[in-house]
Point group: C2
Chain length 334, copies 2
């Protein structure tokens, strides 16, 4: 969305995109506590993460666990923090509940599926493009084609609906998703990838989507006992002073990582020079999980699934890795 200009107050160009990265600390400011030169870290950035060297406030930086690779670290923070806060803080995922996640094949979708598996007896309904089904079918309980009448399919399995809907789309899907909620169920809109409707910058197509979003009457929510929420991790971090809330989620996520209960899904690694091809892959919805820009990689795409060995060769690199954003993560760019 940043690339297409589809955001409210886009920063002035030229700009460096990217909201998270990982690498090794090269220097620290005076009176900085908790970090030393040489520490392996991951960090949130308010833009500028697609770079060889980055500078960010200490509140946005986290030490990497010893057994986490740089490839994993570059794909960890935004996706898992967003998924965790939506499931456990905005909604209250508990044993026996059901979750519907749109873009189940995206990086946030895959993080949602993994976090759901940490709670007993949670049913996950995933919506994804057909061609991703083979790759992700084991990560969710039920998988539906985004072009099918998934509302009816879900209701066949769970007649009274679902407890939580995570929707990274917007527009016509909002009303459909709301109708699927059980009483006391929570619908969370965490982005608007439907807005990315064309290859070229198009404010008009954005505005059209924006106004097509159905507004919600609070009295209807009252009658139906429903909850509707919005979640923007970037706004929380960079506009609303939510560092401490995010830190609390990260602490819990790092424990889950060390218990080997969660692990980021990486689609592919790309050299900085290949950013155009990487973006095209996202635009075509071709990715499963996250694309990583590796500043020390030579310009030949390497699929994560092809050879885990080789992708791990990048682990010892001393330069930070930026990452780009899958379409599913686009909503966070704001």
């Amino acid at each position: 969305m940043v690339r297409q200009g589809n955001i409210d107050n886009p920063p002035k160009t030229p700009l460096v995109p990217g909201f998270e990265c990982c690498g090794i600390v090269e220097s620290v400011a005076e009176n900085t506590h908790g970090f030393e030169i040489g520490d392996r870290v991951m960090a949130f950035m308010n833009y500028n993460a697609w770079a060889e060297v980055v500078c960010t406030p200490v509140d946005f930086v986290y030490k990497m666990p010893d057994d986490m690779t740089f490839t994993e670290a570059a794909a960890f923070s935004l996706n898992f923090v967003a998924a965790y806060m939506m499931l456990f803080e905005v909604a209250s995922l508990r044993e026996g509940m059901s979750v519907l996640v749109h873009s189940a094949g995206g990086a946030v979708g895959q993080a949602v599926a993994q976090l759901c598996s940490t709670v007993p007896n949670v049913t996950v309904f995933g919506i994804a493009s057909c061609f991703k089904h083979t790759s992700i079918k084991d990560s969710v309980t039920h998988l539906f084609d985004r072009n099918a009448d998934y509302i009816q399919e879900v209701k066949k399995i769970s007649t009274d609906g679902v407890d939580i809907v995570l929707d990274c789309l917007c527009g016509e899907n909002t009303g459909k998703s709301l109708s699927l909620l059980k009483p006391l169920g929570t619908y969370i809109l965490y982005g608007a990838s439907n807005m990315v409707t064309g290859e070229t910058k198009s404010f008009f197509s954005f505005a059209k989507s924006w106004w097509q979003v159905e507004k919600v009457n609070p009295i209807k929510l009252y009658e139906e006992n429903k909850v509707i929420a919005g979640f923007s991790l970037l706004n929380l971090l960079f506009k609303q002073g939510g560092c401490n809330l995010v830190k609390s989620a990260m602490d819990k996520l790092l424990i889950l990582y060390e218990q080997k209960k969660i692990r980021p899904v990486v689609d592919s690694l790309w050299a900085l020079e290949e950013v155009k091809e990487a973006m095209q892959r996202i635009h075509d919805r071709g990715n499963i999980g996250k694309l990583i820009l590796d500043v020390e990689k030579s310009p030949t795409p390497l699929m994560a699934n092809d050879s885990t060995e080789t992708s791990e060769a990048g682990e010892e690199e001393e330069e930070p890795e930026g990452d780009n954003d899958s379409k599913e993560r686009m909503p966070f760019i704001h």
Copy 2:
């Protein structure tokens, strides 16, 4: 609202109002398990609770704790279940959070204040008419006049807003209350007592309030990281099959009652013949807590605060007590 005809699909008149009661079991249907004749019980009713004898499905009936009086039992269920489910299931009240409650002097408001005191370090901002302040000032942390600019007053104390807003009003207050939410904060609309605008039945005034409720754009919620919810306990119970959810809340509330952490606030006891005067007291917003219709009481109002001894004299009565609804509870009548 039932009395004024201010609901969507009012039942045909003549009707008997009332949604909860308590008393002693007179008879049970065949194959009814868990209850015997002579049990002291409280029950939810889909209308018809203002009566000497009532009949309701077993799923809506709960045994009274041994040390609970009938006066307490008649005021316990709806208020505490609504307050509990809103604070702990729709929102996730945790240590250190802040809660703003409108109509703090009403029965639900008082239940909210008591439940907040069971969680460490929770700040409660109460909004109530000035003349109630002396009576309820000890139940909340900060108390504001409903006619004052309480938004500014709350922001003076908590510059970044509050975590949870419980709003039994609607109309102009919705937008004001939403603006008070912290990021990730939850606004819950649990009724619409603003709709009770006149003494006479007035569909027009109802419809006008209805349309004045500001609709909410989900994208605004996304940008601001906010949650908006509606809660109607009666719809949950009688239209949406929520018995099991309510039972789970009741079980927890009865433990809190037995631990002496919560206790229903009773405004006054009235004879069935005094129902008109009792309703006027509610309409004038005169009550603190709940008004009880006591079927064995003679027609002279007895203020609960005047003599606890005397009000407890009704405990051994064998007839069920209906209860009427304070204005703050009117929203549940739907």
